[in-house]
Symmetry: C2
Subunit: 347 residues, 2 copies
């Protein structure tokens, strides 16, 4: 009876979730947020209101953005890209999402003993090409080696420094009635990695969308589009980006699922795998919150770059965090943070 009493107040499963790192702590979803809120923010003192893809620094007379990401994707090469492309474009995109021009990257390799040096050369060659495309310089680096079976071939960290091109691009700048612009179809990256890892084949090959977003940002700025906030759709996908921004700004958002482009093969793969494409990561797609007057012009700017942009919704006048989505059936569903991890280690 005494034992039963103890179990009735402390569920061992929940207790364990609080005490140990789970794969879902790296999902970009609810558990990641919990870890940030409960462990990192209390120590490092940043307020969650200012959380963004990078940190704004004012040094001397310069306004800079500084960001970091580690990459642990498996496999290291997948259709359309590699860990090297991801490590360059992912960090470049975080700078771009803050309204900054990406300038310099650092690169830290953690290599597993026994890793093939030719394979390393191939990754480094992909990084070189990606850096050239994104017009950033890899200026400083570090290499550590860990014993066999203590790593998975390689992990890469890239950090980046950029210079602010347009100030005030952040979640707090989102306004009621802003239109939500999506730069292209979603879900390719997650499905490409998953299909390679699991050896799945579909009627046509799905390539990752991994790529740089700065040229899109620059084009929007050059055309004078009134952009308030941007977010790339990495871990947790489109839904997580919307939910996080709605929560950060305290304004409700409404989207229309039929306006969100999903490739037919990606959609089929998601159905087969039991995944919701709204939560599947992209690595070369973003949403931008633009002034309601600028929607059509913003669309034509991105169309001019060859992408397939759509206005997928808007910021409603209602306060309070809430993202509602109009489904294909005409019903509404509320999007929430991902609990658990749909696709581990896709970036």
């Amino acid at each position: 009876m005494s034992d039963q009493g103890e179990f009735s107040v402390t569920c061992p499963i929940l207790h364990q979730q609080e005490e140990k790192i789970l794969m879902s702590h790296g999902s970009g979803g609810k558990h990641t947020s919990d870890l940030i809120e409960k462990v990192f923010l209390p120590a490092f003192g940043t307020s969650s209101e200012t959380l963004h893809d990078g940190a704004f620094l004012h040094i001397d007379q310069s306004d800079l953005v500084f960001t970091t990401d580690s990459y642990v994707v498996q496999p290291l090469f997948f259709p359309g890209g590699s860990i090297g492309d991801l490590a360059v474009f992912g960090t470049v995109n975080d700078l771009a999402m803050c309204g900054a021009r990406p300038l310099y990257l650092s690169c830290g390799f953690i290599l597993e003993e026994g890793f093939d040096i030719d394979r390393l050369r191939q990754v480094v060659a992909r990084m070189k090409d990606a850096a050239a495309l994104a017009q950033v310089k890899l200026v400083t680096g570090d290499t550590k080696v860990i014993e066999r079976a203590r790593g998975d071939g390689m992990y890469i960290n890239t950090s980046g420094v950029g210079v602010v091109e347009r100030a005030g691009i952040n979640p707090q700048s989102i306004q009621s009635d802003d239109l939500i612009l999506l730069s292209g179809d979603i879900g390719r990256h997650g499905i490409a990695v998953m299909s390679e890892r699991e050896g799945l084949t579909f009627e046509t090959s799905i390539e990752s969308d991994v790529g740089e977003l700065y040229s899109s940002v620059r084009a929007l700025f050059d055309e004078g589009i009134d952009v308030h906030c941007m977010r790339d759709l990495t871990r947790g996908g489109l839904a997580t980006a919307l939910v996080e921004l709605s929560a950060a700004r305290g304004l409700a958002m409404e989207i229309d699922e039929s306006a969100v482009p999903v490739d037919a093969v990606v959609r089929g793969a998601c159905e087969f795998l039991g995944l919701d494409p709204f939560y599947v990561a992209c690595e070369g797609r973003m949403i931008a919150f633009v002034s309601s007057n600028d929607g059509e012009q913003a669309l034509s700017v991105l169309e001019g770059l060859g992408s397939n942009p759509r206005i997928i919704g808007h910021v409603s006048g209602q306060s309070g965090p809430m993202v509602s989505s109009k489904t294909f059936l005409g019903t509404r569903r509320i999007l929430d943070r991902l609990v658990g991890d749909q696709l581990p280690r896709i970036c």
Copy 2:
């Protein structure tokens, strides 16, 4: 006969060393240099002449330094410190060695599934304290999770941004007749980590020297000491730092082993373990190349901070990379890059 012929021209052991990552590629010694020269520099285009602890960036009107390091030390806690202290102080020190005031750090965690969250909190608390001591802000971060047995609890990457306080602190500024100032006794960090890992006990406990070096740099600058170059004595220790700088500058250096302070317990542990203290890592010691007129004043500045500095040698007039060391017996030995790895994963 034909098979024998093949083996006679390609030694399989050497061949394997060229093709696979070895633990020694992370030692900071010869194999690390080889990897940088043969794989990273050709792709990333930085010239080896400018290699330093960080990269100098000129953005707008600001002169900045940018650096990165990953930390894979085992065990995560050791006498005198933890992976958290290392991750903050190590990157702070790299900025300081470039003559910069450390300002901002990023922090990327790679966590292993199942890792204890309380342990993570302890590491984060050490990082918080270290950042407060070094007066830097942790401004941006990232967390990834890898499956059990794909990591060793945690790996941390920190990157740092600082503002140049004194320009021209780099290997090319080293002059003939410069004095070589060592900030304190060597070898504590490597021996502290090794003793914890291997369960060794000595008559008195050896604590790591992990700590920040910016306050020493700042004091030297404030007193107007003519500092030409600095280097912290991490992987590969004092000898590797000297050999690298001699090679980068193309000037010979001479040091006197009897002038180099080594704690008696550290010396005894090194003898017991078959290690050369000149190659054992420190994490809170540096060498500074100062104008020959400023040696005494530089000593008194560092003594005023409570450390145990010494002039250990000088830059000779001879050209060509060469570090010669006068031994306790009065003979000379030539210091070379470490081949292999004395103490893996000490940072």
